[in-house]
Structure formats: structure tokens, C-alpha cells
């Protein structure tokens, strides 16, 4: 063994130790608790600093191609039957902690004041695309249903998912009542395509793409979300460990 082999072996060994150490720390519950604790700081600090509206862009700043991501075709037969008939018989359910549960058709949703916004969609993976979204503000729908004082979270139940759990997402009232938080019926001036979540998709600008639930079937107002599915407030939060608050 010459000196180069020895040095190479030593550095590989040190690298291995370091790597093993990092992975062990990553798996350690108390370390993860600290890391997740820092996540809570993100929510608090951003709520202090990041009020206001997400930037809205000009038409000429839009992405020429807006890629799809995640599920692009729910497998549910009920959903596919609605898709085959252009969602004429489909109804959005609004229930939970509300005074008056609602069942809204696409036509009903069109009677609410519509908000159109050209915004940037930032995927947790790192890419961004700019598109135009239009639909009723979530706040108007919640007001129409008479949101209870006990409600703290708005949960979106979706038509997609996997064998283990249906897709769902949740936001708190701070984001639910933000003027740019809309239930989009149109994307780039056309009916929402299936790949982008037809017939209805949540837009919660100021958060990353995975919060923008597609194929929304039911909006439920709840006092808590830790008793729902695996308790982390969303499909990606439960299944992959993504942060519930996705402002960064």
C-alpha cells in the first residue's frame, strides 16, 4: 500500500464516517424534533414579514408551457364519469363547521364574483411557471356557507390519491381569507384541464405548489387537522414528510 492509497483510504473512511453520522442524525427522533421546531419559526416569521399580495404578472410574462405535476388523471370511476360529462352533474360539497352546508355546481361557482390573477407557481422541487387563474374567492364561498367561529382550518378533499390515502390538503384561516386564495375554474382563460386539476383547484399563492390541491371535491371546515388521516394536514405532509406550512 503506497501513500496515495493510504491517504485515499483514510479520506474515504472519514467520508464514510461523516456520511453515516449524517444519516444517523437524520433518522434520530430528537434531532428531527429540533429540525421540525425550526420549521415553526418559518411560519411565525413569515406571518410577520410576508403579508400582502403575491406578485401578479403581465400576460407577456406567462410561461409558454405550464407543465403538470403529481397526479394528472385520478383513477376514481366516479370522477372519470363526471369528467366524461364535462362535470355537468358534479357538485362541490362545502361542509364541516359551517351553518349551512352547500352543494355547488360549476354554474353556482360561476355566480360568485370571479377573481383573475396571473401568478407564479413555485414547485417544491425548484421549478416555477407563470399562469393565469380565475375563479371565486374561497372567502366568499366560506361566507356563503356561514363559517363557524370554531373553524380553524379549511380542508380540501380531492378525487385523486393512492391506495393508502385519498389526496387532501389544508390551510388555516389566515390563508383561506387571503384575497388571492381562489378556487380556480379557469386556467389561462380556459376550463381547467384535467392535468391541472379539473374541475376545481385551490390557488393559495404565497405557498409552494403541493399546497394547491387539484380535483377538489369537498371543502370541509374543521377545528383541528391532527385527527385527520395521519395527522399532518395533507397528503404530501403525511406520506413524504413535507412541511404543512410551505411558504418557503
Amino acid at each position: 500500500m503506497n501513500r496515495r492509497d493510504l491517504l485515499g483510504g483514510l479520506s474515504l473512511g472519514a467520508g464514510g464516517l461523516l456520511l453515516g453520522g449524517c444519516d444517523r442524525l437524520n433518522a434520530d427522533p430528537s434531532v428531527r424534533k429540533i429540525l421540525v421546531g425550526a420549521e415553526a419559526l418559518n411560519l411565525r416569521s413569515q406571518r410577520l414579514l410576508a403579508g400582502g399580495l403575491a406578485r401578479e404578472y403581465r400576460r407577456d410574462q406567462m410561461s409558454p408551457v405550464f407543465r403538470t405535476n403529481g397526479n394528472t388523471r385520478p383513477e376514481s370511476t366516479a370522477y372519470l364519469a363526471h369528467a366524461a360529462t364535462n362535470f355537468v352533474d358534479w357538485r362541490l360539497i362545502v361542509d364541516g363547521l359551517v351553518a349551512m352546508p352547500l352543494k355547488l355546481s360549476l354554474g353556482d361557482l360561476g355566480t360568485f364574483p370571479q377573481r383573475a390573477q396571473i401568478t407564479r407557481h413555485d414547485c417544491v422541487e425548484g421549478w416555477s411557471a407563470i399562469g393565469k387563474w380565475q375563479g371565486p374567492m374561497l372567502s366568499d364561498i366560506l361566507k356563503a356557507a356561514g363559517l363557524s367561529d370554531r373553524a380553524r382550518y379549511i380542508v380540501f378533499h380531492c378525487a385523486d390519491g393512492d391506495a393508502n390515502r385519498p389526496f387532501y390538503e389544508s390551510i388555516d384561516l389566515y390563508d383561506a381569507f387571503h384575497p388571492q386564495t381562489i378556487m380556480a375554474l379557469l386556467m389561462n382563460d380556459r376550463r381547467l384541464p384535467m392535468g391541472h386539476g379539473a374541475p376545481l383547484r385551490l390557488r393559495v399563492e404565497r405557498q409552494l405548489g403541493y399546497k394547491h390541491a387539484k380535483f377538489v371535491m369537498r371543502i370541509e371546515a374543521r377545528a383541528r387537522i391532527d385527527d385527520l388521516y395521519d395527522g399532518k394536514g395533507g397528503y404530501w405532509e403525511d406520506s413524504a414528510g413535507y412541511a404543512w406550512y410551505a411558504g418557503i
Binding site: N42, S128, Y242
Partner: protein, 301 residues
């Protein structure tokens, strides 16, 4: 020691710059070199920047393409990409394409499984693909990076570290002075005696660039990638030219910090690693004189 640089020939310039040697420490003396705040921050950075880089490379692996402007996704032209073909891994920057099979783009993991991801397992946190876990590490240590930089800057203003050690005079940036310092570095002629207690102009420029350039740049480009921060501070998007530009600049700043680290380590090794590392631990530095060279007998002026 054969690897010792030639310190015997003291550059004339350094002699002129040295303070009057009437009183003060001489060669061989242990002298106070680094403030406690500097030393604490330095070693904290070793950990923080390593975690930030390694978890950041994992985050990059989720979408190993970089763009300029506000938007950028798979259908848009990328100026930088780490990718793979059926048989090779490659790095592409503009029209330049370099094959990196086995290291970047296409490599074999610790279990012998072929992976087609950008950065390999031995340089990412965690070593197995997990964007969620990498983000957990990255954003927790981002707080450490930002808060410790603010604390170090405050301490360095109060204890006059910046003013005493990093102030750059007009005289120092004269081309002739810069050139003399570049030549000294190239010949590995490091300052000796009292001159070794002060940063030379290349050191000042490098440290100032990291402190007031690269670290703020990497922090603010990081913030500019946050959709919530962009709503609160839309000027972030304006100064960096859009979110995808900020992401590109964030990556470039990381590469520049790695380059600084490599040069920094090389200089510590060349200038005498034991003395240099001791001074960053205990704060005390042994003033270099002419003795090591005259003992080595390599150069006898």
C-alpha cells in the same frame, strides 16, 4: 520540512509596511490573533456551511436545471443542467457539455444501485434521495447561518475587528501593490514577523467578498425563492431579476463559497497548518520568523 515555503526572502514591500519594530512582539512570540467572536463564528460556520451545502445539493437533485428570469421548468431553456443519458452522466453549461459518468448525473449508490440523479450520495444530506428531509436540514441551518452572521457582524463592529483588520485603504488597491501581493502569493512568500499579524490585501479582499458579498447574496437569493417572502418583500424579485435567476445566483454563490473554502484550506496548509489552526482555536498565533528556513538549509541568503 521540504514543503515549507521559502520565507527567507522577505519582500521589500512587506518590510516597508511592517510597523516600526521598536516595541512589540518578535519572531517566535505567541501573540493574540483572533477575537473569541471570530473563532466561535468560524467553527460554527464549518458545520453550518457544510450542512447547508450538502442539503442544498440534495434539494438541487429534485430539479437539476437552472434558469434565468422569473419562471423556468422542463420545457424552458436551462443555462445549466446536470443530467444523464442511457449510458452517461453529464454536466451542461450553455453549449459546453462535460461527461461526468460515475460522479454527476449517473452514479452507483452505497448499495450498488445505479442512480440517475445529479449529485451523488456521498455529498448530500441525507445520502438517500429525500427532498423533504433535505429541506428540513437546509431551513433549520439557514436560521443558524443568518443569525450567526448577524451576531458576528455586530460583534465585529463593536470590537472593531472590521475596522482594524478588514479596512481596505486606497493605497492597498493600487495596481502595483495588488500585483506585488499576487506575486508574493504565487511564490508562496508569506509575511513574517509583525506583518503576519495583519491581513494582506488579497486576504482582505477575499474575506470582505465572502462576508459582505457571498454570504448576504446566498441568504437573500435563498429568501427570494420563498413565495411568501416574495409577497412580503417583492424587491427581492426585482434585485435578482426573478425567482429562477435568484435560484441560479444561489447556486453560483455556493460554488464561489466552495472555491473560497478550497483556497482557504490550501493557504492554511501552506502557511503552517498547526500555527494557523491553533490561532483559530485558542486565539494565539506564533509569529513566524526566519528560523525554520535557515534550519532547513534550503536557502541561505
Amino acid at each position: 520540512m521540504a514543503a515549507q515555503p521559502d520565507r527567507s526572502a522577505m519582500p521589500e514591500k512587506a518590510q516597508q509596511d511592517a510597523p516600526e519594530a521598536t516595541v512589540g512582539p518578535g519572531p517566535g512570540d505567541l501573540v493574540k490573533r483572533h477575537h473569541l467572536s471570530t473563532r466561535l463564528w468560524h467553527w460554527l460556520n464549518v458545520v453550518t456551511l457544510a450542512v447547508m451545502m450538502m442539503s442544498g445539493l440534495m434539494i438541487f437533485n429534485a430539479h437539476p436545471r437552472l434558469y434565468w428570469g422569473e419562471y423556468g421548468a422542463n420545457a424552458d431553456p436551462a443555462w445549466f443542467e446536470i443530467g444523464s443519458t442511457e449510458t452517461t452522466g453529464f454536466v451542461q453549461a450553455g453549449s459546453l457539455r462535460i461527461e461526468t459518468t460515475g460522479v454527476l448525473g449517473r452514479w452507483t449508490d452505497q448499495d450498488g444501485v445505479l442512480r440517475r440523479r445529479a449529485f451523488p450520495y456521498w455529498i448530500t444530506i441525507p445520502s438517500r434521495y429525500s427532498l423533504a428531509d433535505a429541506r428540513l436540514w437546509h431551513f433549520a441551518f439557514a436560521w443558524v447561518l443568518g443569525l450567526s452572521l448577524a451576531a458576528f457582524m455586530t460583534a465585529s463592529l463593536l470590537n472593531r475587528h472590521f475596522k482594524r483588520h478588514l479596512t481596505i485603504s486606497l493605497d492597498e488597491v493600487r495596481p502595483s501593490h495588488l500585483w506585488a501581493d499576487i506575486k508574493d502569493h504565487a511564490r508562496l512568500r508569506f509575511p513574517i514577523e509583525a506583518a503576519a499579524l495583519r491581513y494582506n490585501i488579497l486576504q482582505k479582499l477575499a474575506y470582505a467578498a465572502v462576508l459582505f458579498g457571498l454570504l448576504p447574496l446566498i441568504i437573500f437569493t435563498g429568501l427570494a425563492m420563498s413565495p411568501a417572502m416574495d409577497a412580503g418583500w417583492p424587491w427581492l424579485l426585482d434585485i435578482f431579476g426573478g425567482r429562477q435567476s435568484a435560484r441560479s445566483l444561489h447556486f453560483i454563490a455556493m460554488v464561489a463559497l466552495v472555491a473560497f473554502f478550497l483556497v482557504h484550506i490550501a493557504m492554511v496548509v501552506l502557511a503552517g497548518p498547526i500555527n494557523e489552526v491553533r490561532s483559530m482555536i485558542s486565539g494565539y498565533y506564533r509569529l513566524p520568523g526566519k528560523r525554520p528556513e535557515s534550519r532547513s538549509g534550503e536557502v541561505a541568503p
